[in-house]
Symmetry: C2
DNA sequence: TTTTTACCTATCCTTATGGACAGGTACCCC
DNA sequence: GGGGTACCTGTCCATAAGGATAGGTAAAAA
C-alpha cells in the first residue's frame, strides 16, 4: 500500500493524530518499554520506532524522521559510535532533536554529545516520569533539557572554556581495559605484543587524559565513564 | 471502607480479575514503567505496586502481598539492605516469589540473593520483553528463572561447593573507596588515622575477598559490585 | 570463659609502578 | 613538504605496592 517516502513522513510530522513523533534507542528492552509507556501517557505523543543497536537506530530515524530521538549512547561496545550517530542525525535530519538518556553522568560524553547536536541530557536513575515528559516536550521545541546535576556540569565546562576532556585512543583504551582486569604492565605487554615501556607510555597518557594520578584512579574513572 | 488485611489480600490473590499480582521495586522510574508495560501485556497480570526505595518496597509488599516481587537490589547506597529485604520477604511472605532484575551479573549478589529466597535473576541489558514475561510466570509458579549467562554462574558456584564471597567489613570498604580515588597507601593512612601497614592489611584482605590480585582489579570489581 | 570477629601494627624483601627524558616510524591532511 | 597524530621503544631512578610472617587489643557471641 502507501509506502511513505522519507519526505512524506517529515512533512506529515505535525499531523493532528500525533504532534510529537519519537524514536527511542536503548539496548535495554525494559527501558524502551518504559519510555514508551511514559511518553504515550501524553496525548499527541507517539513512539513511532524503537531500536536496540546503532544500525537499527539509524534505520528507524531514516524511516520515520521523528521530531525527537531519545537515545542512550551506550548501544554497543563503542561509545564513539553513539557520538558519531548524533553528529550524523544532526546533519541529515536537522529537525530531529536529540535527547540523551544516559546511565551515568559522564562529563566527556555529555559535552561531546552537545557539541554534536544533542540538546538534552537526562540521567536514567534520577529522572522522574514527569521530567521525562517535559524534557521531550522541551527538546521537541528546540529547547535544552538537562536533568538534575547535569546543568551544573554544563555550566562548569562552558565556564572553564575548556573544550572537553581528551578522548582515549584505541590503544589507550585497550591498555586501560587490561589494567582494569588487574594485569600487570608486563602481562599487558605480553598480551598486546608490545614492550612494557609502551604499556607505561599508554597508561601515562590515559591517566593524564582522565585526570588520574595512579592506575587505581584510572580504572575507577574509566569504569564510571563506561570505557570498560 | 474495606481496609483489607494482609491475609485478605493474600487470599484474594487468585481472583479472576488478576491471577498474577506483581510489585516492582527499582529506583529508576523508566524501568518501573517498562516492566509494568511489558507485564501488563499479559492478561491476568497486574502490577499492583511500585517502589523506588527499600522502605517503599517493604510497604508495598506488606500492603499488597503480591505473588511476585520484581526487584533491583540496588535501590540505595547499601546493597546489603536489598539482600536483607529478600530474606525478610521470604520469611514473612513465603508465597511471594522474588525475581531479581539486576544491572550487572554480580556473582556475589546472585548467590547471596538465591540463598536468601530469590528464585530468579535477570540482567536488565540482556533481557527481552518475552523473557521477562516468561520469567515472571515461572517464578510465580515457584520455578527458577535465570537470564542468559546467569545459569552458568549458578551452576559453577553450586558445583564448587563454595558458599559465597565474603563481604567486606566497614573498614575494608572505607579503604577500598579511598584506593578508588587514587590515594596512595600513605595518603589513606593519613586520612583514616591509621598506619600504612594497616592500610595494606585491609587492602590485602579486601583483595582476597573480591578475588583481585592488584589494586586496579580491586577497584574495578568493587565499582561493578556497587561498593563505591 | 573461651572463641570469634573486626581491627590495628610491625618488619623484611621482592617486584611493580610512575616520572623524566630522549628518541623512533607510519600515516593523513593542508 | 611540513605538521599533526597515533603509535612504539628505551634508560635511569625513586617510590609504591604486595607477599609472608608475627604479633597485638576490644567487643561480641557461643
Amino acid at each position: 500500500m502507501d509506502t511513505p517516502t522519507r519526505t512524506d513522513v517529515a512533512r506529515g510530522r505535525r499531523a493532528p493524530q500525533a504532534r510529537t513523533r519519537v524514536v527511542v534507542a536503548d539496548r535495554n528492552a525494559i527501558t524502551r518499554a518504559g519510555i514508551r509507556a511514559i511518553l504515550e501517557r501524553s496525548p499527541g505523543t507517539a513512539v513511532v520506532g524503537e531500536a536496540a543497536t546503532y544500525d537499527l537506530a539509524t534505520q528507524a530515524i531514516e524511516e520515520h524522521g521523528p521530531d525527537v530521538l531519545v537515545i542512550d549512547l551506550d548501544l554497543g561496545d563503542d561509545t564513539t559510535r553513539g557520538l558519531a550517530l548524533c553528529e550524523d542525525v544532526h546533519e541529515r535530519f536537522p529537525d530531529t532533536h536529540i535527547l540523551i538518556i544516559a546511565s551515568t553522568l559522564s562529563e566527556m560524553v555529555l559535552i561531546e554529545a552537545l557539541r554534536r547536536g544533542a540538546i538534552g541530557y537526562l540521567v536514567k536513575d534520577q529522572v522522574t516520569a514527569d521530567e521525562l515528559t517535559k524534557s521531550v516536550r522541551a527538546v521537541q521545541e528546540g529547547e535544552t533539557a538537562f536533568g538534575r546535576g547535569v546543568g551544573a556540569v554544563v555550566a562548569k565546562t562552558l565556564g572553564s572554556s575548556k573544550p572537553s576532556d581528551d578522548k582515549l585512543t584505541e590503544r589507550e583504551t585497550n591498555v586501560v581495559q587490561l589494567v582494569a582486569q588487574g594485569l600487570s604492565n608486563q602481562q599487558i605487554a605480553h598480551e598486546l605484543f608490545i614492550s612494557v615501556s609502551t604499556v607505561k607510555f599508554h597508561i601515562h597518557n590515559a591517566s593524564r587524559k582522565l585526570h588520574a594520578l595512579r592506575r587505581a584512579e584510572l580504572v575507577h574513572h574509566a569504569t564510571l565513564a563506561g570505557l570498560i
